[in-house]
């Protein structure tokens, strides 16, 4: 009886792994590594790589620079409606990408909510590289901010207080205490946001379109090249698999190189019930 059960779960595990991994393996065995590199060296692939890296870096920088202090604010301040705000931050996380796309259009397009004002400054966002940055940041930011809030919340309040009584301003306290002690969590959140941003498809194609060399990121290029040149599509896909694998490994390995974040020695101070 017990043996039968063991066999059953082992088979289930085998099926699950095969189902998850076989498609990815197929990507790499379909064409030879040499052809893969040749396909990557093609114009559409290089253009897509460049657009993805550029828009990804700008969007990611924006997410980190604005998201980190925003998360610190939401994690450390107690005010009415805070719970609602924290939940709303996570909304894009569960939003279908197509909805994100139409929402961005509703705000930024010529006939959108801010369209007229932007038009007055001669700014037209849809179908530009700036639109890619906005779309990527919009879908990726919640991954980072949510993780950052959780990380800042685990920093023992007494350490923050101690820093203040030792003469450090709130800014210096953030920089020297809260930030280093949250580094692991922030790193993991950053990696997840990067992965989500790199894979972004739906919102981008609706809001920014798919113009090669301008707004066509790697996922969009895969779709565009599928009919024209399947080898290029596969090559870009293979490259994205490597990127994703790197992100996954970095998230898994991050906690082990920063052990000091375990503040378990210091019992957290009783927090004022909100």
């Amino acid at each position: 009886m017990r043996r039968a059960f063991d066999v059953l779960i082992a088979v289930a595990a085998g099926v699950a792994l095969a189902f998850l991994l076989l498609p990815i393996m197929a990507l790499f065995v379909r064409i030879s590594p040499g052809d893969l590199l040749d396909a990557l060296w093609s114009d559409p692939a290089l253009d897509a790589l460049w657009v993805s890296v550029k828009t990804g870096l700008i969007a990611h920088a924006f997410v980190l620079v604005v998201g980190t202090p925003a998360a610190y604010f939401l994690a450390t301040r107690r005010f009415r409606g805070r719970g609602v705000l924290v939940t709303l931050v996570e909304l894009p996380l569960v939003l279908p990408p197509a909805v994100a796309g139409i929402a961005l259009l509703a705000l930024f397009s010529r006939r959108g909510l801010l369209g007229e004002q932007l038009d007055a400054f001669g700014i037209q966002l849809p179908l530009t590289q700036a639109a890619v940055v906005i779309a990527v940041a919009f879908v990726a930011a919640p991954f980072y901010v949510r993780q950052a809030i959780a990380s800042f919340e685990t920093v023992d309040r007494a350490l923050i207080d101690a820093s203040r009584t030792l003469g450090a301003s709130p800014g210096r306290t953030f920089w020297r205490i809260a930030l280093p002690l949250s580094a692991t969590g922030l790193g993991a959140g950053s990696a997840l946001a990067w992965a989500r941003g790199t894979g972004e498809f739906g919102a981008t194609i609706m809001f920014a379109g798919s113009l090669q060399g301008v707004t066509q990121t790697m996922p969009l290029a895969i779709y565009a090249q599928l009919d024209l040149n399947p080898d290029v599509a596969v090559a870009i896909g293979a490259l994205l698999v490597l990127v994703s694998l790197t992100v996954l490994l970095s998230v898994k390995l991050l906690p082990s190189w920063t052990r000091f974040t375990s503040a378990s020695l210091i019992r957290s101070a009783p927090s004022a019930s909100s």
Binding site: D156, A158, L159, D161, A162, S163, R164, T165, L166, G167, A168, S169, R176, I177, P180, L181, F260, T261, S262, A263, L265, I266, R267
Partner: protein
């Protein structure tokens, strides 16, 4: 020099902390059960809590005044706060922790507190006693005008505790800073502070020297809370395996505890017998002195005899016809005399 003035009124969950306190160049302890509002007072002085009403000043420096809307942030108050669980920065070494508040004289501080060898260690690698010293060094590195200690010994096991208490006492005596100490343990307060305020539900119900509190508790609660007498003296090995303690007033008592040097002898009031004549019993300690005061506590009476307070039933006080000023003998067993190291 600078005296710390604290007057505040602040609502907590089920009661209001309301107190007024001046701390000169001395150690004042606030004792009371957990949840009495002790820590809130310290946080208010440090600037980590904004009291609803009141005024906090150090010398002529105003830190908080609800009337004139003055609120100096914690980093601009000259305060050294030692947190209950020490709150050492786990990602920094001992030296970096101490240097966080002030870079000058870090090496000297580490030396003075006997933690120079630990300069490169991280807090996670330290024992409880070591952490306590690092936290103290860190608080002192800023050259604070006021020292605040939040349950400085609670995080330690009972064995380490006695030694750390003695060390802390020495350091405090040397610093002579206005020091406000918060603890739920009366013995810690008695060992470290010259004045003790008993805080119950946010109010100081009594202030006095530790001996005064034991002798003349204002309420049964204070009587229960204060626990034992603390007699200071110097211990050395005596005859018959007993330890002889020469008290500060010259009297000699014996204990079965083995300890040498400056000690406090803890004797519980209910273990002290009172008589007109010294009983003939060599296993007993006897102190002869006039009765300084008599305070009824429920159906018992606290009788102050020299440095000692005895608690006897009201019936026996009546039977012996005790009156203040009467010469009596207080007796207690050597086995009931606990010795704790003191600075």
């Amino acid at each position: 020099m600078d005296t710390l003035h604290v007057r505040l009124s602040h609502p907590l969950r089920s009661f209001r902390v309301e107190l007024s306190l001046d701390v000169g160049r001395e150690t004042v302890a606030l004792v009371g059960p957990s949840g009495a509002g002790k820590t809130s007072v310290l946080r208010a002085v440090a600037g980590l809590l904004r009291p609803e009403r009141g005024r906090i000043a150090c010398g002529d420096e105003l830190w908080f005044d609800s009337e004139t809307k003055v609120l100096v942030p914690p980093e601009r108050r000259s305060v050294g706060l030692v947190f209950q669980e020490y709150a050492l920065f786990p990602h920094m070494t001992v030296a970096q922790n101490v240097a966080y508040g002030g870079r000058d004289g870090v090496a000297g501080l580490l030396e003075t507190l006997g933690i120079a060898a630990l300069a490169g260690a991280r807090p996670g690698e330290l024992s409880g006693g070591e952490r306590q010293r690092v936290a103290l060094a860190r608080a002192l590195a800023r050259n604070p005008a006021v020292l605040l200690l939040d349950e400085p010994l609670t995080a330690l096991d009972s064995h380490t505790r006695a030694h750390v208490r003695a060390e802390l006492g020495e350091v405090l005596a040397r610093l002579r800073l206005p020091t406000l100490l918060v603890t739920h343990d009366f013995q810690d307060a008695a060992a470290l502070a010259s004045r003790v305020g008993v805080l119950v539900e946010g109010r100081i119900v009594q202030v006095g020297s530790p001996a005064e509190l034991v002798a003349t508790p204002a309420s049964p609660f204070v009587a229960d809370f204060t626990g034992g007498n603390l007699l200071r003296g110097v211990a050395r090995p005596g005859s018959g395996g007993l330890t002889e303690v020469r008290l500060d007033d010259g009297a000699r008592i014996f204990s079965t505890d083995r300890l040498e040097g400056h000690v406090g002898a803890v004797v519980y009031p209910w273990e002290v017998a009172v008589a007109r004549e010294a009983p003939v019993d060599s296993a007993q300690n006897h102190l002869t002195a006039p009765i300084a005061s008599m305070v009824p506590v429920a159906n018992r009476v606290r009788v102050r005899i020299g440095p000692l307070t005895a608690e006897i039933t009201a019936a026996s006080a009546e039977r012996l016809e005790l009156r203040p000023g009467d010469q009596v003998v207080a007796s207690f067993k050597a086995t009931g005399t606990r010795l704790v190291p003191l600075a």
